[in-house]
Amino acid sequence: MGLLDQIGPVMVGPSSSHTAGACRLALLARHVLGTQPRAARLVLHGSFAKTAQGHGTDLALAGGLLGFLPDDPRIKDALAHAAAAGLELEYVTADLGDIHPNSARLELTGDGEESVSVLGSSLGAGFVRVTQVNGFDVHVSGAYHTLLALHTDRPGVIARVAGVVADDDGNIATAFSARQRRGGHAMMSVEIDKPLAGYAVEYLRSLPYIHWLRLLPEVMRGSEERVTDAADPPAEGTWAGSEVEP
């Protein structure tokens, strides 16, 4: 957590946790899907469920799914923008268990068959944490460039990925991996100080034991200091790995 996260973000109101944080969670989920979502089922838990409308959480989630950053004035009219973009939204509330009170599960479907489920929490002051993707435990803070990979659970995969990141001069800030069962599928989330170069991504995608791969942007950075704009939809072919659902 940097000093600029404490005096910041610059954002549209009214709540850093329920508006800016919600927008960032939705931005991350949009990048996990890897394309413009067509339908979204947004399951709100705890304080998100109780006070979503009052805090503009519904608008901020819709805005994030459309690629709006937390300081984007269009968030106020995000529902109209979603309708214009052909994004169907369904908001439901549920008890998602013993998790942070500001949490939501974002279930997104794109143009084709692909769909993802992203569980995340808004921790306060705009900080977020994605804790599950497609049922796998992950660790994504949005403070770094994040590599998400679904892979076969076998020896050497994590070492290989770490090696590729190192060869690209990338420094790993955090790394987390969890598997379904021994020898089954596993998901790894690796937070890196810099974006991974295109050739490194291509190489990782070509590995037979990596089934699905995404790069998520640093959503904690504000628009004024952002190098690559998370509002741009990810380019075809750069972001999408082979589409295998766990």
Partner: protein
Amino acid sequence: MTLDELSRSPGRASEAVLYDEVGDDPEARASLLETMRSRIDEMRDSIRRGLASSEPSRTGMVGWNAKQLHEAPDPLGAPLLKRVQEYAMAVNEENARMGRIVAAPTAGSAGTVPGALLGVADHLGIPDDELVMPLVLAAGVAQVISKSMFIAGATGGCQAEIGSSAAMAAAAVTELLGGSARASVHAAAQALMNTIGLVCDPVGGYVEVPCVSRNAFYAVHAVSAAQLALAGVESFIPPDEVIYAMASVGRMLPPELRETGEGGVADTPTGRRVALKMAGK
């Protein structure tokens, strides 16, 4: 860093905070200061918009308070007090209208730091460039608090949000007026200690009532804390222990008093009526 370590910095407390973040890297230092400077411009902009607007918020509960106070006479003969309150409410009414603001540390508490810091600076004619380092210190205080607890009404009640913002503002104003690192830290501790127990009870779940007026009150509270600290008055309880106490009280608060809109003034006949009306029932 702890508040105790911060209070023992030989120079200004903000220098210690800045060094802790960027070390000796001159580029990182310049870049951070430049962004912090631009955040002051953003704060000013939100104050300007807030003081000029009487557009009601989404519920219609707030939206004209800052402008009303701004245009009112000053029967108390206390222009500093009035200015600090106006600025704080201007920012939070902009926030309630989904206008653009700087979270400090949260959006619900975004009025306190600009209210106190810019209010005092404008009252005394201090230029904006001199507010950058005090703002760095404010951010540093938030960072220390956030190591002990999540700064969110949903986890710690309003004390986590407004308490933090008041502590940040108190330290910043103290440094702005020449206070030592020790005085700045004790200002933060006094501000924090006297917000312990504050519950988060937004009417209808909207960040409007009591949030808008609360920012005005706690911006003044922060200035009071700075006044005590500049006179050498210290917190008897060591500052870091005050943070632990606040985190502990936050854990004891029932969910009804942590940003669910189910307790406090949200759970009054009028509060419940607003909630039902806004839910379209």
